[in-house]
Point group: C2
């Protein structure tokens, strides 16, 4: 595993790899705009200051967090197999039901939802400053937003005879999605059946077919749930009493350990709940660290705020004096999402005037958000540091430089 940002020469070498024994030989070309933490599989994110230039993230700025080689699927031949259906009485049904992509596109009404997808490891790099964690050192751009088009999962499941009642009586608790690359993950069945949950079998991203890197031809969109549950290249859907198996569901990857846990010895990892909904989050995307200002300058801060579970953002607070006083930022795009169904980020900005009497040196800008459940971000990284480096939602701090103009 290669950790760290690759230089563009390394990237080109990796893309040009033509060794056919290499399962990554046919990877699609990566965006040159991204910072690569890893290739094969790709972990890459946009530079912070361009991430929030548009509300919907363009394909070439969308973060990539893949776990395996990218499959290339023939949409016309691809079938999605449903098993574990509680209504299955007919012997044919015990083998499941297959739907083609055409079935999914034509048999169900198309719905569009705007959803942000955030990696569980977003802002891990800040945890590494305290003590090294495990995984790619994401800055603040392991989050992206798109409009997804597809069939509502609840509509598809209902058409296959799945109801609240037969799910309850069958003891079904989870719905598992298996990707063509053999990655699997699950969400609670409640999420899939919720009339207000907006779970989607998506075939479009920002009005075009889902890009190959992001799950063409079909991606499960679990709005409000961590990125890894939004399974790409969906091939199989299983209703189950148990959650998905494998490292991304039951292993340590998306499990939250305590801040003093340094070893997994003696820890029952499977007993720790898998990450599903994420905590309230925000980050400053503009200015970037190290930007130079003069005393008295007006700094325009911009950023995003997001919370899991569809919980809307009610306020973003910004401080330029270490958290003593707080300014309320202006929320812009995304602010009108319903508070209990806000699947996408809210962008914000504010002008803050630096004091005139500042001594030269470093100066800290801080942001924090409050969501509709009045959950807030914790003050410091230390109290939430964890071995796996996930769920860093501490106050976001950006150090800038303030110095008198050189004569």
């Amino acid at each position: 595993m290669r950790i760290g940002t690759l230089h563009s020469d390394d990237l080109k070498a990796s893309i040009k790899n033509t060794n056919m024994d290499d399962p990554y030989a046919k990877e699609p070309e990566g965006s040159a705009l991204l910072n690569y933490h890893m290739t094969n599989p790709t972990n890459a994110e946009a530079p912070a200051n361009i991430l929030t230039e548009s509300y919907l993230t363009p394909d070439d700025l969308f973060f990539v967090r893949n776990h395996h080689p990218t499959p290339l699927i023939d949409e016309d031949k691809h079938m999605v197999n449903f098993t574990g259906l509680p209504s299955a009485r007919d012997p044919i049904l015990t083998e499941g039901i297959n739907l083609s992509i055409t079935d999914i596109k034509t048999k169900y009404k198309k719905h569009n939802i705007v959803s942000s997808i955030q990696c569980g490891g977003n802002r891990r790099a800040e945890m590494n400053v305290i003590e090294r964690t495990n995984g790619s050192p994401w800055a603040t751009s392991a989050i992206s937003t798109a409009e997804y088009g597809g069939a509502r999962l609840v509509d598809v499941l209902k058409s296959l005879g799945v109801t609240h009642e037969n799910v309850e009586s069958s003891g079904i608790k989870h719905i598992i999605f298996v990707g063509a690359e053999d990655m699997q993950a699950s969400v609670p069945i409640r999420k899939a059946l919720d009339e207000y949950g907006d779970s989607l079998l998506a075939y479009e991203q920002n009005g075009k077919p889902i890009p190959q890197t992001h799950g063409y031809p079909l991606r499960f969109i679990a709005p409000g749930h961590v990125g890894v549950r939004n399974v790409k290249w969906v091939s199989s859907i299983i209703l189950s009493k148990e959650e998905a198996t494998g490292p991304w569901q039951r292993g340590m990857s998306y499990k939250g350990f305590g801040p003093s846990t340094r070893s997994l010895e003696g820890i029952d990892v499977e007993a720790i709940p898998s990450l599903q909904e994420q905590p309230v989050q925000s980050a400053i995307t503009v200015p970037t660290p190290g930007t130079v200002y003069q005393p008295g300058d007006v700094v325009t801060l911009k950023g995003y705020a997001y919370s899991g579970g569809g919980r809307g953002i009610v306020r973003v607070d910004v401080s330029i004096d270490g958290g003593k006083n707080w300014l309320t930022a202006t929320m812009t795009e995304g602010k009108d999402q319903p508070l209990d169904r806000a699947w996408a980020w809210t962008l914000w900005e504010i002008d803050a005037e630096l004091p005139e009497d500042i001594s030269d040196g470093k100066f800290e800008l801080i942001c924090k958000a409050t969501d509709a459940s009045y959950n807030v971000q914790p003050d410091s990284v230390e109290g939430i540091w964890n071995l796996r480096g996930i769920n860093n939602n501490s106050w976001h701090r950006v150090q800038v430089v303030v110095e008198e103009e050189k004569e």
Copy 2:
């Protein structure tokens, strides 16, 4: 309005008040076990150290936060009036439908759920230490837990012809509950119709009729929502495009202001979302502040943890060194609640050994919880202080005294 803990003599005087012009003349007798912040109306809570002695809170330890004189209702004559029903085609229905308590008890299957109810102002006293806020100075016991028995609201609404579809097409967004004392509050209609939401028209509390103080004969239980939405003495239920009116819904009482807001001048209070679900919370109930230990003593800490929206508690961390190192507490009763339907608190305990080489003096015990969305409590009160003193879920800190035994 009287602020502060009343002495028992004041309490007796208040209970004995026989002035019949006084709307509070017929208040039911209050529990002598509670600490009274206010009477007429009553605001009272249990001493911390006895609150968590039992998982279900006995009536005489249940916190009381009333807004008006307590109504005394004749159950046999009481009717609950439903209006705004989207299916209303019949002219009779435009006046609404009345259900008696007997109807509610006999026409619908009885469901039992265990739910904690927490006042939005729980732990306000700690905010007052930073700067005075507005309201009763609750310590950590403005939270109680009971098993409620009643009809599921979704069953009642369905029987009256309410469906997802006609709610959507009618533009209904809220369901308003009006109490016999004329207090009203609402929750999103989504909460009422959610098959997994467990909204209840409750006529029992811990196996007995709801106590008069707590809403006899019918209380709306909105599991996972702030106390004030759990309307007592329910007399009228209104489906509506708008949320409830009045100070407890649209006024400042349950609105979250920013930490630097000192005046409401220029603030559009109605535009701030009403408090519904609450953030993740925990508190140490044992030991109480000022308890005296010797160096090397083993301290048994006990407490509760709770989060809004049915989000279960995944971990409680305890520190005895100011947050440098954290011990994982043992979760006891409540720990087996479903993680997406955990309506009640989780109790926890842990033994922590005080160091031998401690210098005499004050010593701080800290707890914090993490919920199923991996939201956490913020480190300090300062960043969440607000004018109204609500939603204090900062790390809970208890100061004890550690000193060498006097010879």
